[in-house]
């Protein structure tokens, strides 16, 4: 049976056409009818559709009759290409024997092409390189083929050239999957071992675990066991994605599918865990995943304090869909009860914010993201601080260490100078260069994470007309001259507005921040004094003058309804403001520290 199964994922740099290729495969195998077809059909989340970006990997089973006349079961996993979601890719890889590496014929090899490729090679997958978008006039398939060939050693002629959009040569991709990717190994008669590579939450079925059965089989009536916690339960349903959830009578070694667990929280069903059967448990769990390390941290607070329990519920539910989200309760003097959450990157953070607002209908406030610092104290202790407000008094501190990253930038050679300039301005250190392919240079730098958190990527793109791409990984902690920049509103420090900055930037940033805040904080019924302080000195101050006039001049018989609507709108606007002491501060103010350059 498993001889006729192929498990593969599609990997690429962002926007190279993974989801579009998946569309064609689903169509050609008849998994989706013409009527159901929409572009990037696997991007089913509202946000994915709106942004045209895959955020979450999705699995789907297809049936395909190959040219050898045999029927094959193909399990496809479409993955996201954005650098923040590399972790999603790594999990998908563990469920597959092969990967289709899509490379855009107009862009060539980019940073996540390499990053994802290396992950796939490490996971020992068969790789099928595919050059996509050959229909575009600016396509350079020969050049890209040459680059791929020198990277993988695949002969140029063997590299498929397709247009996922128009369907050109997609049949050949299906044949290559069948011929080149090995069928899964794994004994269906052995004790059950199934790897959870993803999950989502369903209100009726509880946590739905996405599994790759490595050995043994699962029948609906079996009592199952989590190998990490030893918790036992009976599944509500087992099935496959086709692409909607469809129940099946069994899942066996080699197959990809889902188990609706009926469990209610993420703690009971962790991604990376191994499921076995209670009746005949396996001895050893499968190797799981390295849990991703959150890179940036931010406070999440309900705008209305009464929504706190709802926010907690929402975060717990989100975590079921997004194993890389971590959070714990936090209290801010200014903002009250909330959570400190860790994210893989700013894009990830933005996605979480939007999902909380849309899918859970919550008004939330995010504080400016921060990296995690190590603080060595005079008493010999080392603190980890991911919230500037928690930085102890300067007198107690021996040194502050911040995370440094190794970044790799792939670019056409002409932008060498522009990139050097950008990186060195942000405390980056050049480490070397390589030529992964004849037409590209890969530059390596070391740079503090805090310097690339905001704007860096946009700057990089704009300086290279979109040609450069970036990948990064954590390197180590290094000390530097860092200090806390505090903001005081009417004399009171507002913890949620504090930032940790480099000593030489403190003055300039303090001033820029105050002038930003002066514009962002709406006029109130009284004067509001705002000040920036660093190293025990006030470095900048400004005054938001009291509001003098806000009244509708006319309100006669015909105006009542319209004027009331206007007041209602005002009132709603007010709800988006957070009361800090007796001052109303808008959400944007908490992010102001990020965009000081503009």
């Amino acid at each position: 049976m498993s001889r006729h199964i192929r498990n593969f994922c599609i990997i690429a740099h962002v926007d190279h056409g993974k989801s579009t290729l998946a569309d064609r495969l689903l169509q050609m195998t008849g998994t989706i009818s013409e009527r159901e077809m929409v572009e990037q059909v696997l991007d089913s989340m509202e946000l994915e559709r709106e942004k045209g970006v895959t955020i979450k990997a999705s699995a789907v089973r297809m049936e395909y009759t190959a040219s050898d006349g045999q029927r094959y079961e193909l399990n496809l996993i479409d993955t996201p290409g954005h650098v923040d979601f590399g972790y999603e890719v790594s999990r998908a890889l563990a469920a597959c024997e092969g990967a289709i590496l899509v490379v855009d014929a107009t862009q060539g090899i980019e940073a996540q092409t390499l990053a994802n490729l290396y992950q796939a090679i490490e996971a020992d997958l068969e790789i099928i390189p595919v050059i996509n978008k050959i229909d575009l006039p600016s396509a350079r398939p020969d050049e890209v083929a040459e680059d791929i060939s020198s990277l993988l050693g695949t002969p140029k002629e063997q590299i498929l050239r397709i247009s996922a959009k128009e369907g050109t040569n997609v049949e050949a991709v299906l044949e290559a999957i069948v011929q080149r990717i090995p069928p899964p190994r794994g004994d269906p008669e052995a004790p059950l071992r199934a790897l959870i590579f993803d999950s989502h939450y369903d209100a009726y079925k509880g946590v739905v675990a996405y599994v790759r059965v490595k050995e043994g089989r699962i029948l609906p009536g079996d009592t199952l066991r989590m190998m990490s916690t030893q918790a036992e339960w009976k599944p509500v349903e087992i099935g496959i994605f086709a692409p909607d959830m469809r129940p099946v009578a069994q899942l066996e070694a080699g197959e990809v599918g889902y188990i609706a667990t009926g469990l209610k929280t993420v703690r009971d069903c962790r991604v990376g865990d191994t499921i076995t059967s209670a009746a005949r448990p396996a001895a050893e769990p499968l190797p799981g995943y390295r849990h991703p390390k959150p890179m940036v941290f931010a406070g999440i607070y309900p705008v209305d304090a009464e929504d706190y329990p709802d926010l907690r519920d929402a975060l717990e539910k989100l975590q079921l869909n997004d194993a890389s989200l971590v959070f714990e309760p936090e209290t801010s003097q200014a903002l009250g009860f909330g959570f400190r959450a860790g994210f893989l990157g700013l894009f990830h953070m933005e996605i979480v914010q939007e999902r909380l607002e849309r899918e859970y209908n919550l008004d939330v406030l995010f504080t400016a993201p921060s990296v995690e610092y190590e603080v060595l104290l005079r008493d010999g202790r080392t603190l980890r601080v991911d919230s500037p407000a928690e930085l102890p008094d300067e007198a107690q501190i021996v040194e502050i260490r911040e995370p440094w990253m190794l970044i790799e930038i792939i670019t056409p050679t002409e932008f060498y100078g522009a990139i050097m300039d950008l990186v060195t301005k942000r405390r980056g250190i050049f480490k070397g260069q390589e030529y992964p392919s004849p037409h590209r240079v890969q530059l390596k730098f070391e740079i503090p994470l805090s310097e690339i958190l905001v704007d860096f990527f946009d700057e990089l793109k704009s300086r290279t007309r979109g040609y450069a791409s970036l990948d990064y990984q954590f390197l180590e902690y290094r000390p530097d001259e860092l200090q806390k920049l505090e903001i005081l509103v009417n004399g009171e420090p507002v913890d949620a507005l504090a930032a940790i900055v480099h000593r030489k930037d403190a003055y300039h940033k303090g001033q820029a921040l105050i002038s930003k805040l002066k514009d962002l904080i709406p006029r109130q019924l009284f004067d509001v004094a705002i000040q920036a302080a660093a190293g025990g000195r006030i470095i900048s101050r400004a005054n938001v003058k009291a509001l003098r006039k806000d009244v509708l001049a006319k309100c006669y018989g015909g105006d009542v309804t319209r004027k009331k609507k206007l007041l209602e709108k005002q009132k709603r606007g007010k709800r988006r403001l957070k009361m800090v002491g007796n001052v109303e501060i808008p959400q944007e103010a908490f992010m102001a520290v990020l965009r000081l350059e503009e």
Partner: protein
């Protein structure tokens, strides 16, 4: 005209006492006085029009003559509201007004000669680039005309108007709210000195002899008080609004459709005429919200909490207690306890929206 008569007839209720009639919106002074007379006759025939009713007509200064004013007066109109707006040619031009200040002087003089003893002037302040001095001189010119009543409106740049487009494109400075506040504060003082009492956010009336401190002055516009006190009124004509019998409603705006609807003349229960299209049945919440947000516009008499109780069977404190205390604390509202009244403070008059919105449920 014919449709209008039909509409009035359709709501005929001979026992309904009518205290005020107001010809307004658009430029009613373009109507021949005979038409005004005819409408008033119809009203008198269909309702119980009280002998001392206040009958106002809005007029653009350039559109009246001594003769037309005489005819209007003879027809029963006894209050005239003139859209003076400004005394400066440049500002009038900016506001796209056809008249000149000279027209205003004439209109006032003719009105007096025609026997009008109730005159109102409308003025606008806070125009783009208008200085405080400019505004002060506008008001001084208006005062020299000795009107019984003055309405001072801050220019509001409403979305979709040419002004908002010009400001948006940087062709015109955005109005300066602080300066507008200064203008209003100065005006309030100046008018008090000149013997006028402010009784609404934008309205002043001559107050000689002085009326009791918690009452609107004698020369206040009775018709407008009707709106702010949430008393019923009927609206006739295309685009007219009404509030009666538990409804707020508005007639179709397009004159053609208005006429067609009245031709088809479908009878509906009072107060809905065949032309009413936007019909809203007031909920208890609507009524309470509007009672507060309209009543608090009356800067002299404020809202009577006793009336609130009589009308809704509940104490305002029960419903709005928290908002009332906070607004009093913030210095925007004051309670005149022995009188059981709630009123905007001097500061609150300039920050009315902050107050009104707290009374929305």
């Amino acid at each position: 005209m014919e449709a209008l008569q039909v509409e009035i007839e359709s709501l005929k209720s001979p026992h309904l006492a009518v205290h005020t009639v107001f010809f307004g919106g658009g430029t009613p002074s373009l109507l021949p006085p005979s038409a005004v007379a005819q409408i008033l006759e119809t009203i008198a025939r269909c309702f119980h029009l009280l002998p001392d009713a206040e009958i106002t007509l809005e007029a653009n200064p350039g559109t009246v003559t001594l003769e037309s004013l005489r005819a209007l007066r003879a027809a029963g109109v006894n209050r005239l509201s003139l859209g003076m707006q400004s005394a400066q040619a440049e500002e009038l031009h900016l506001l796209e007004r056809e008249h000149s200040f000279l027209d205003v002087i004439h209109a006032v003089e003719w009105a007096r000669r025609a026997g009008f003893t109730l005159l109102n002037l409308d003025l606008i302040y806070g125009l783009p680039s208008q200085s405080l001095e400019r505004w002060q001189s506008n008001l001084e010119w208006a005062l020299r005309l000795q009107p019984e009543h003055l309405s001072l409106y801050a220019l509001s740049i409403e979305h979709g108007t040419p002004f908002s487009r010009w400001v948006g494109r940087g062709l015109m400075p955005a109005p300066d709210d602080d300066l507008a506040a200064a203008m209003l504060e100065w005006s309030a003082e100046r008018l008090e000195q000149a013997g006028y009492a402010q009784y609404e956010i934008s309205n002043w009336a001559r107050d000689l002899p002085p009326s009791p401190p918690l009452e609107s002055p004698r020369y206040a516009c009775r018709h407008n008080l009707q709106y702010w006190l949430m008393q019923p009124y009927l609206g006739f004509g295309a685009g007219a609004h009404g509030y009666a019998g538990g409804y707020r409603y508005a007639n179709v705006l397009r004159i053609r459709t208005y006429i067609e609807r009245l031709r088809a003349a479908r009878q509906r229960p009072f107060p809905l005429s065949p032309a009413a299209v936007h019909i809203h049945r007031q909920t208890l919440e609507d009524e309470m919200e509007e009672f507060m947000m309209l009543g608090l516009r009356l800067t002299r008499q404020g809202v009577s909490l006793e009336t609130f109780h009589q009308r809704f069977g509940r104490e305002a404190r029960e419903i709005y207690g928290k908002s009332i205390s906070r607004l009093c604390q913030d210095g925007l509202l004051e309670i005149l306890e022995e009188e059981k009244r709630l009123r905007l403070t001097r500061r609150g008059r300039l920050l009315g929206n902050r107050v009104f919105r707290e009374f929305l449920l």
